[in-house]
Amino acid sequence: MQTLKITIRGSFWDTQLYKDVLYVFELDGAVRLVNWPALVEGLPVPDRCRLAMECSFLRSDYLYGNKWDRLFQDQEIQALLASKFSAALHLPLEVDGQMLDQFTVDRDDSPFPYAPNDTLFYKDHLYAVSQSGVYSQFMSGETVPRNRADRSWEAAVSGLDVNLDVLALAAGDEGLFRSPSATYDLGVSLQPHAEQVSQQLCNDCSYVRSSILSSAHETGATLAEFRAPKRSSERSEEDRSREFWEAKPLSVIKGDDLFQENTAGSFCWGSRDRICMAKDGVLTVIKYLPFNDRRRNLTKPVREIPLHSWKGSPVSGDNAVFGAILELDNALVVVRSDDQVDTFRGEPVNWRVFPRSKHFTNQLHVVYEDRIEILSFNHDYFVDQKTKSFGEPHNEPWSGRTWGT
């Protein structure tokens, strides 16, 4: 089924989507909270397109799961669903400033530094990292907090990720760090702090299972391996978080040993058990094997695909359930889970996917200088989640991976 798009006109820096609220960071320094379901339902759409709109922009989970397998095997039902998405594809889904105001819940100066390097929602807290440090702020979704966000660490940080209440922080030439999240129970006497995991240049980081992949174009990737705390009925989530925070890395593996080639000059990223590398016009995907499944190798090759040279060199990347997203100098490329490649020409201001949300896993938000394009990918419902090469499996349970709606 085809990709649908809502376009919001204006000058923006970045977005977030959490618990049915669209957070829009504007270039004038404000943050705007938008009632996302009301906005989507307020778009002038004929009734025959309502199901497609709801699945595309409000409930990506509707069409996943075993319960639909029998229905989706029916060619007529597949064709009917596809026709509904096709009808929506031809609608002008445009939001101008007036309409955006109509569905805005609140708008005020951002509690974070202007134009942060990266943001992340986790357990109702919005985290932002910037040149001046790591910030967090509880967000109710109803109002923009009038106080400034708490700063937990004063260091230049360019990217972050989180797992089990432990933040991974990319601090450039200072290296890769871990820090307790704002919701981690520190006890009464401890202050938040950060601990260095690796000294190697780190401009981006992502959790791959419970390990952390650190990446920088110049020097390549490293993987700091951490063992996930075991689950048991006697252990609370807080106990597991504490064990995870107190854990030391078992090893730090060079990217060259993951990919069997030099990763310098590449961009690498990962999520769940997939690690991707874009280098010299090729996107390579490998599977990171958990400790119990290893015999000789740490990783297993999955796929390689070539990239057109006009698109340029790799800039950044991320994984979503609908595929792997790679930003190159001149285009944003989505290598879809059905092996199709979608290319969006141009240089975005920012872009973002929501692989850990419950309802928005199919969305890609791309901010350009004069608009946001909210793209919805709807092919992954029909893809075998166990065998797909690109993108995260939708139905793989993994603690801590889903924390929004």
Binding site: D28, S130, S132, G172, N203, E218, E347, V349, E369
Partner: protein, 137 residues
Amino acid sequence: MAIVNFKKIKTGLYYACHPHHRNGNGNKSQWTISKPAEISCFTHAHAQAWVDGTRAFGIFPIGNPDYLGVAQERHRQLFLARFEDGNGNQRWHGYPADPQKKAGDRLSEVIKEKWIRTNVLPPAKVRKLQRGEPCRL
């Protein structure tokens, strides 16, 4: 020890073209623009108040920036200039900044905001600089 000659820009403001960034030093980024262009880059940055304490940032030429230097390992072109007033006495020097390898070479919060609001560089370029991503003109 390299001899550093400061040139008076205006009353109370001095600038030196540091030889380490022009003599092929393998540990330093190198200017590829002329000394007068380097001084012009600094003078404009200072006049525009692209200054945050003892740090300042610039581009050259203004309005249509081009590459102004190469990275320490020489294979990457750089277009951001960083200036320092090491002793806080308005005696500045500068070098081609390498935000991909040095977090300290990225724009300070104050200058980042000024540059985005006044469109010194497109926001997409600023995002790449600040995240240490490759950023081409």
